[in-house]
């Protein structure tokens, strides 16, 4: 029985590149998948595309492709390696053009196919309601983007067209991994159990290093060997969707029952109903068996019919966030930082800056989990952040923290300030027939 080998080359847009190259070179892979789109990445990319019509794809696309393309395609003595990625972000067509350019420059003859159709901005009507209760119409010109989470369809079409590299925009993360399994094993689109199993593989791999020892170490409780050279995971999958999670021999990190369990539950709500565009996956009876060092078998995933509607991520502008920080240390540090906080809030009020929302806290005391009991730390860092309608107001927030140098309590140091535009994301549901994935080769 054929064994399919799929590796995970990135868990987010800015992820490390070396482990992906290691997988491409030494992983003996059939597919290398790069998952690079977080909730609001497309909205940010759409903004980039407005200022540059040929832009709007992942900023690391070119570097990643320069490094891995030499291992892609049909090569003597090796498995044929293909790449599937959502690095197309807001502009898969331009991303594909860029990858073709890089392949040509490297002297490679590769077929690069873009998957489009996730952009549904033109489909939205003013009376559509977002999950936060606002209507699409109420956003007016602040509306930036609307992207449906596509499933496997477009990627399957690209693979049938013999693509070596498939570049998508918004596709549900596990679907990037499920599509190659369906294509290679010929699974039907309503083979819910196998689709549930294949979705589990995708879910375990989609955050790359998070299943192979990344985001796991807790010294003395959970130790990870050679975390600095953390390797990314790969799955060995059979035609029934039964899979073994492992990584390249000699790379850092570890794959264990515990690492797999943390990733199994990551970003899952009801484990019996994990919704994707392809299947309602059931992870509630999943178990893991360690079959060797860094070799873990996943079993027990199931699936039911897919949801009738597709989730759409809607990006919109919502004012500006201004922020300032200042540190205090030594005896009385907390009292001085608290005084500094009160002074900044009072000054913002006195100069009449309109704050839609404000948060003032002491890093080292209460910034992560609110006030908790504990000994007073040697040093704390005041942090004031506020959301304002206008940029000019948000700027004042950081300024009033910075001026603590000569206008605040004694001994403040290391001021920093920043202003950023808020790109908020909400969601809505669309019927499937309103979304039409297609390929551009």
């Amino acid at each position: 029985m054929k064994t399919l080998r799929i590796g995970s080359g990135a868990g987010y847009s800015g992820d490390r590149i070396e482990p992906a190259v290691e997988l491409a070179e030494q992983g003996d892979l059939d597919y290398l998948v790069f998952e690079c789109l977080a909730e609001r990445t497309i909205a940010l990319a759409q903004q980039a595309r407005i200022s540059d019509p040929d832009g709007g794809y992942d900023p690391l696309l070119s570097e990643r492709m320069r490094r891995v393309l030499p291992f892609v395609g049909v090569q003597a003595g090796r498995r044929r390696l293909r790449v599937v990625t959502n690095m197309g972000a807001a502009n898969p067509v331009s991303a594909a053009i860029e990858v073709r350019r890089i392949a040509a420059a490297l002297g490679l003859d590769l077929k690069v196919v873009a998957v489009v159709g996730d952009d549904v901005l033109k489909v939205l009507q003013p009376d559509f309601l977002l999950d936060n209760g606002q209507s699409v119409g109420s956003l007016g010109e602040r509306l930036i983007s609307a992207n449906a989470y596509l499933g496997v369809d477009g990627i399957l079409e690209a693979l049938r067209a013999d693509a070596d590299v498939v570049i998508t925009g918004r596709v549900a993360d596990p679907s990037l991994f499920l599509a190659p399994q369906m294509f290679e094993f010929g699974w039907a689109a309503d083979d819910w159990q196998r689709l549930g199993r294949g979705t589990l593989v995708g879910h375990l791999l989609e955050c790359a290093g998070q299943v192979s020892g990344g985001y796991f170490a807790d010294p003395g409780f959970k130790d990870v060997d050679d975390l600095a050279r953390l390797g990314f995971p790969l799955a060995e999958i059979n035609a029934d969707g039964e899979a073994l999670i492992t990584k390249v021999a000699g790379s850092g990190g570890r794959v264990s029952r515990a690492t797999c369990t943390e990733q199994l539950i990551y970003e899952v709500h009801d484990p019996a109903a994990y919704l994707t565009p392809d299947v309602t996956a059931d992870f509630s009876r999943v178990g893991f068996v360690e079959e060797g060092v860094d070799r873990v078998r996943a079993q027990g995933a199931d699936g039911r019919a897919r949801p009738e509607q597709l989730k759409v991520s809607v990006g919109y502008l919502e004012g500006w966030i201004g922020e300032g920080q200042m540190s205090y240390g030594g005896p009385g540090a907390v009292a001085r930082a608290q005084l500094a906080r009160d002074v900044v809030l009072k000054r913002l009020e006195l100069i009449g800056v309109k704050l839609q929302d404000v948060r003032a806290e002491l890093i080292g005391m209460d910034s992560l989990h609110g006030p908790r009991s504990g000994v007073e730390p040697w040093e704390v860092r005041l942090r004031v952040a506020a959301r304002c309608e206008e940029r000019s107001e948000a700027v004042r927030v950081g300024n009033e923290v910075e001026t603590l140098y000569t206008n605040g309590p004694s001994g403040g140091g290391g001021a920093s300030k920043s202003v950023r535009q808020v790109v908020a994301v909400a969601s809505l549901l669309l019927p499937r027939n309103a979304v039409k994935p297609r390929i551009e080769a």
Binding site: D218, E267, D270, G300, G370, A385
Partner: protein, 108 residues
């Protein structure tokens, strides 16, 4: 004894909702976690951090991996993209929960 000695955890986010896994290191401790770590207790631990009027904390059991999954709506205060929080994703929440003192009800 602290939960930290019995279990490990990872936190995920979707919109303004966090999910926190609590995974027993040893299978024999799982029943204790199920008994002691109720949804109400976890809600109480994070009281004050969640939006007023947010939906209830939900708990799911995954017995084959000796884990509990807690879903906390409204704890990310408007969601990752709008939040003013330093840790807008709430990634550090699970580590906080591991500070819970667990009384072994079997010994009491």
């Amino acid at each position: 004894m602290k939960l930290h000695t019995l279990a490990h955890s990872r936190t995920g986010d979707k919109g303004d909702t966090s999910n926190i896994s609590i995974i027993a290191y040893r299978a024999e401790d799982y029943p204790l976690l199920c008994e002691y770590l109720t949804a109400e207790r976890v809600a109480e631990f994070f009281a004050g951090m969640r939006e007023a009027g947010a939906a209830q904390v939900r708990r799911y059991e995954l017995p084959n991996v000796q884990a509990l999954n807690f879903v906390l709506p409204g704890i990310l205060r408007g969601g990752v993209t709008r939040s003013l929080a330093l840790d807008a994703h709430g990634k550090c929440l699970g580590s906080a929960l591991l500070a819970l003192e667990i009384q072994d009800l079997r010994l009491a």
